[in-house]
Each structure stands twice: as structure tokens, then as C-alpha cells.
């Protein structure tokens, strides 16, 4: 692995830990010929789990990936009150761009999902927003200039 630090929210960390523990137990039981433990047989608990079954290569890959994340993560925490006026990881930022309103949460690369408004702190927009406060206008991109105006910043990370 490349020694990358994964910035994760507490919610995501709990999800990853639960999945890791479940898959390790499943793999162990599978190796000694036992069935999966009851809670992990339910598709309601983990829809992907059903697909992991009997695909040992993918199961091992996923376990290895989760282990790497759990060994190299940093928890996204709320900054101290006086610093909550600035955009940092975990911030929910309302912006205006090209006359339209949008809302982003700044997350690490692992949780990034722009389709759902979760913008990576390593993307040009995520990176550019970091350290700014309400009212700031940030110009992103050298070729097609876009101005992002920060309307509000909120922290709700538990």
C-alpha cells in the first residue's frame, strides 16, 4: 500500500470497522468449513455481503483494503469553536456558483461522492474551499474560471 492517510467521519469509521470484523469472522468460518454467523447472513444488514459469499478472491481483497484503511485513518473531527468559521474537513458548505445554489460536505477521498454532494478535499474545488469563510469568493480553474461564493458553513460531525 502507498502509506496514504484516509480521512474518515466517525460514522464511516464505524461502518468500516463493522464490515471488517464481520468479514474476518466470515472468512475464518469459511476456511474451517462453517457457515457464516447469523447476523451476516441477512441481506438487510449488508446488501453487498451476499455477493462476497463464495467469491474468496474479492472477500480477501476487501478485507485487505479495510485493514489498510483501519491502520491508516485519521478521524474527521469538528474544529474548535473559534475555527468553525473556516471551511475544513467535515464542513457542510452552502455555496453559490454560476448563479446557482449548492451544498457540499468536504470529506476525504474515501467518502467522496460528488453525485451526493460529498466533495473530496483533494479535488480542485474541495482544496480551494479549505480555509475560507462565509462571504469569500473563490475562483477555481485556470481555463474556465468559476467563482464559488461561500454562503454558510456548518459542522455537524458527531
Amino acid at each position: 500500500m502507498d502509506g496514504k492517510v484516509f480521512y474518515v467521519t466517525k460514522e464511516k469509521l464505524q461502518e468500516l470497522k463493522k464490515e471488517y470484523e464481520g468479514l474476518v469472522v466470515f472468512e475464518r468460518n469459511k476456511t474451517i468449513g462453517q457457515e457464516a454467523p447469523k447476523p451476516f447472513e441477512s441481506e438487510d444488514i449488508n446488501p453487498e455481503f451476499i455477493s462476497f459469499q463464495e467469491d474468496m478472491i474479492f472477500l480477501k481483497l476487501r478485507i485487505e483494503e479495510l485493514k489498510n484503511i483501519l491502520e491508516n485513518y485519521e478521524l474527521i473531527k469538528n474544529p474548535p469553536k473559534e475555527k468553525q468559521i473556516f471551511v475544513n474537513l467535515g464542513a457542510k458548505v452552502k455555496i453559490e456558483v454560476s448563479g446557482k445554489k449548492d451544498e457540499f460536505m468536504i470529506v476525504g477521498t474515501l467518502e467522496a461522492n460528488p453525485t451526493l454532494g460529498k466533495i473530496s478535499n483533494e479535488s480542485p474545488v474541495g482544496k480551494a474551499l479549505l480555509g475560507h469563510k462565509v462571504g469569500d469568493e473563490i475562483i477555481v480553474s485556470s481555463l474556465m474560471k468559476k467563482t464559488y461564493k461561500i454562503k454558510s458553513i456548518k459542522y455537524e460531525v458527531s
Partner: protein, 212 residues
Amino acid sequence: MKNLVNFFHQVGKLKEMPRRGWVINDIKNGESIAEHIFRTTLMAWILGNEKKGLNIERILKMALIHDLCEIYAGDATPYDSILPKNGKKRKETMKTWPRFTNAQKLKISRGKYEKEEKGLNKLIEDLPAGIKKEIKNLWLDFEKGLTPEGRFFKQTDKLENFLQALEYWKKYKKPPQGPWWEWAREFFDDPYMLEFIEEMSKEFHKKLKPRI
């Protein structure tokens, strides 16, 4: 054997299915979904190889299967829920990147996922169990970014799409470039992809001034 013949017959339909993003931009004879898959696979192999540390075989298989669900689910674009029927209004809509509330984003994303999963399940239903599971797992990895390969390929898929948009823009002066650049600066975060985009920008915008 009958199930395999039927599977490949269905997959062949992608050769004649146009990519919807170009249709709504009035690009004549735009690429098919199969053509997009072809270049995405090539890019995934070569760029993945350059990036190092990735399982290329896994990425290549992911590239080959990532849009198979569209045989039944169809091709979706971010504009679908707001697209006016009127041609002039549609052209106007295409000039800006669509913005939604977070609740709308979740609804659109869930709807697309469910439709595509259903489409994939239908396509692979009668395949032998092993390959069926492998295809489903690769698709889940692509959709959810479960492994470094899944996360890398998700960006490669969009990179090919972006390159095609630039090529059409150079040739036909459409689709409008503004929304593409706006989206790209929010979507891509892989340093290697971002470097590639800078090179694309130099190549396609060295003489021509982009029109939004």
C-alpha cells in the same frame, strides 16, 4: 450454452445504443455505449499501469462490465430530471451544470442505482454462478468504490467521457464546455487524473477560445 449465446447477443446491443449525453446535445452520429466501453478499457489499462500498485486484470474486467446494465436500464445523464422538451430551452439548460438540493441528489442517485442494479441482475440472471457473482461484485466495486481499483476506475470512466466531450466540442462546438469544467473540478481528485486533465486542456484549448 444457450444462456451464453443469449448473453452475448444482448451485450451486442450496446454497439447500437447511442450515449444519451450526446443525443441531448444534438451530436449527430454520436458514439455508442460499446464505443465508450472500448476506449475506457484501453485508458483503464494504460493509465492504471502508469499509476502503479493496482490490479490491472481487475480494472480491465470492471471496465468491460461497468455499463452492461444499460442494456436494460438505459443510459442516464445528470440533466434527465430537468430537461425541457423544447429544443431551444434544452440548449439553454445544457449551458450550465445542473445543481440540486442534497435530498434531490439522493433521490436521483438511488433511483439510478436501483434501475441499473435491476438491469444488471436481469442480464446476468442465467449466467453460470461463478461468472455471475464476479460480474456483480465488479459492478458493486465500481459503483461504491470498495477497492482502490473501483475508485480508480470510476474516475477513468468519467475521464473518457470528458475527453469525448472535448473532442466533440473541437469538432462541432458542442457540448458547451463550461459545465464540463465546472463538474470536473468537483469530481476528480486523483492527482494522476488531474494531471491528465491539464494535458487535455492544453491539447484542446491551445488555439480555440472556449465558448460557454
